[in-house]
């Protein structure tokens, strides 16, 4: 990596150490202070020009390299994502608006994202449309000079705290179900929207149901072309291709384990220490697969299917390492650093349970990868 990327890594670590409490386990807890930590951290990053550094200069970014963006992804995820839910606005909502939004939409939505003030949620999945997203039923029908939206979304992360929703709805029916879908940018404060949190093992705010009962939006809230929202969904997935740097948190916790256990480390069964070093090797492997993807992306050579092997490897790593870490943490003592380690590991285990399901299930990744393998023949 470049000297700039290495220096950025150190800057970010210093900022986290100074501005994020040691026992921070993410913004999504029942303690409102945790959300405020994340909001304040986003404002701080924005002030220093670090929040949207990957954005083009014309939109207030620094046009940073793909490697600098990789460093940001790694350091944030390794430290329990102190940007909270705002990573979505930075990573893909903003860039999608730059590509598909009107000037008015860009003026309205980009500055609050860039200043670290706004949280977005993604209204894609529905009870009957998960991996088969194009089968969704939420409808938007013409109503005078605007649209009326009815339907239900589910698994919508951060809907309880979001100000805006990036909503996919059906506007017409054609031969192909991918046609007739449209993206709407809708304010979550509208009384026609009801959010019902779903209790889950990851903790609060992660999963919600969102109901739209005669939500009235205008033509100005349509993103891109009516009925052509599926192409924007493809772009969203492209921005998410490398996704969360899950390996960075796995590696940080695995490396932290001997220190957290102190003298107890030597008493661990040799077999468990063997599994520990195996997981460290798998972290290295996942990191290198991610870097290969970033290199391909930088060279403009990445194809939608290139990420599949990496995504399978990293999500399995997340779960496998969590099991090993839980076993190690069970042997930790009662010292403050050991207690904190145990809490971090517990949190990691909870998050990891969803890693093969969220943002494109592992089965979808397997289908993509096998298609590529078979087509290459």
């Amino acid at each position: 990596m470049s000297q700039e990327a290495t220096a950025l890594r150190q800057d970010l670590r210093d900022l986290v150490k100074k501005h994020v409490p040691e026992d921070f386990l993410g913004a999504f807890t029942n303690n409102p202070d945790d959300l405020e930590v994340a909001q304040a951290f986003c404002r701080l990053l924005a002030k220093r020009g670090l929040l949207c550094m990957s954005w083009p200069e014309e939109f207030g970014g620094r046009g940073s390299s793909a490697w600098e963006q990789t460093v940001v992804r790694e350091e944030m995820w390794a430290h329990h994502e102190p940007r909270g839910a705002q990573y979505m606005g930075v990573n893909w909502v903003g860039p999608i608006l730059m590509r598909h939004g009107t000037l008015e939409q860009q003026r309205r939505h980009l500055p609050p994202i860039a200043s670290g003030e706004v949280i977005w949620c993604q209204g894609f999945s529905e009870p009957e449309a998960g991996s088969d997203l194009a089968s969704l039923r939420t409808s938007a029908t013409r109503d005078g000079d605007g649209w009326r939206i009815n339907g239900q979304k589910i698994w919508t992360s951060y809907a309880t705290m979001a100000q805006w929703c990036f909503l996919l709805a059906r506007t017409s029916r054609g031969e192909k179900k991918q046609r007739g879908l449209t993206i709407f940018l809708v304010p979550m404060s509208d009384p026609a929207i009801t959010v019902r949190p779903i209790g889950c093992l990851m903790g609060p705010h992660h999963l919600n149901e969102v109901f739209f009962d005669d939500l009235r939006v205008t033509e100005a809230d349509v993103l891109g072309t009516v009925d052509d929202g599926w192409s924007i969904v493809g772009d969203v997935l492209a921005f998410e291709r490398v996704g969360i740097a899950r390996y960075a948190r796995c590696e940080r916790l695995l490396q932290l384990a001997p220190e957290a256990l102190g003298d107890r480390w030597a008493n661990l069964p040799a077999e468990l220490r063997g599994r520990w070093v195996r997981m460290l090797t798998h972290c290295r492997r996942a990191r290198l697969l991610a870097y290969r993807l970033v290199a391909l992306q930088s060279a403009g050579q990445v194809k939608p299917t290139d990420s599949a092997a990496y995504r399978i490897a990293v999500t399995k790593l997340d779960q496998d390492s969590a099991e090993v870490l839980m076993e190690i943490a069970a042997a930790a003592g009662t010292e403050p650093e050991a207690e904190l380690f145990r809490l971090e590991v517990e949190d990691h285990w909870r998050y990891s349970q969803a890693s093969t399901v969220s943002s494109g299930s592992i089965e979808m990744q397997r289908i993509l990868l096998s298609r590529t393998l078979l087509a290459a023949r």
Binding site: V277, T281, L288, L289, R292, A309, L374, R377
Partner: protein
Amino acid sequence: MIIDLSDEAQEFGRQAVRAFESAGGDQLVQRAEADPTTRDALAGGVLAELGVWDLEPRGDMDSLEAAAAVCRSAGYWALPYPVAERLSRPADLDVDGLLVVADNRPSGSIVGVEARWAAATLDGARHRVANSVPDGPAFVARLDLAPLDGDGAKDLALALTLPCWTLLGMLDRAMELTIAHVTMREQFGQPLSGFQGVQFQLTDGEVERAGLEVLAKYTLWSVGTGREEALDDALALRMAALEAAEVVFRVTHQLHGAVGFCDETTLSWLSRYSQPLRRLPLGVSATRDLLSTRVDRSGLVGLYS
């Protein structure tokens, strides 16, 4: 960041694949099994013509990458010659190659190859191979060792890394053959590749193969730049390579069905000739034990920790 071998090394690897094919391809290992004394005659000439023995993998990065590429190509054809072991020869000994051996029952896949061998144990002790006696399938010989010195620690990383490139070539081929097989073979009126159960097994193999590929390149860089942790990196690579081989050969055998065990099928030869690479000097559990003992509390030290 450079994630792949240089263009030149990759081209050298492609040339080697073509040259081994012209020399006999899949038939080479079968002929060598029938008469191990022909190993040199079957493969030595083509390796010399390619200029493999002019490479100095301990000398410079270009040579090292070319050595890795040719080892991978050798693995692709299960070339019946210890290319990686020859290329691992120590710089300071007048020998033709280096075998990394276990303390217990030191062995190497050298039956029928006339060469002056040195051997190094994983604690860095070096020996001269005084005698060798055939001791099992896949050209494995038991070695009689005469102690030389204790200077072998510096030789180990490369000598562990290059055989992993050979194994990677075997996994490349096993996957390629299996994809061809499931595309062609029909059951219940459709190609096997149409069944999701088959597709998902292929992805298990490919994730392991692709992961090994990037780790192998990283380790090559670590060895070539003389990183202090190069031996740990090489052991980590070896551990991952053995795990990958286990998954890939399990999947590829399963998807080939009974034909995969037959002598007429290349997979059968690849699979059995992968065994010495996977068991010598240490299998996966012993490699993992050794690595976790070596790194102790510090873990794997990388560029980003």
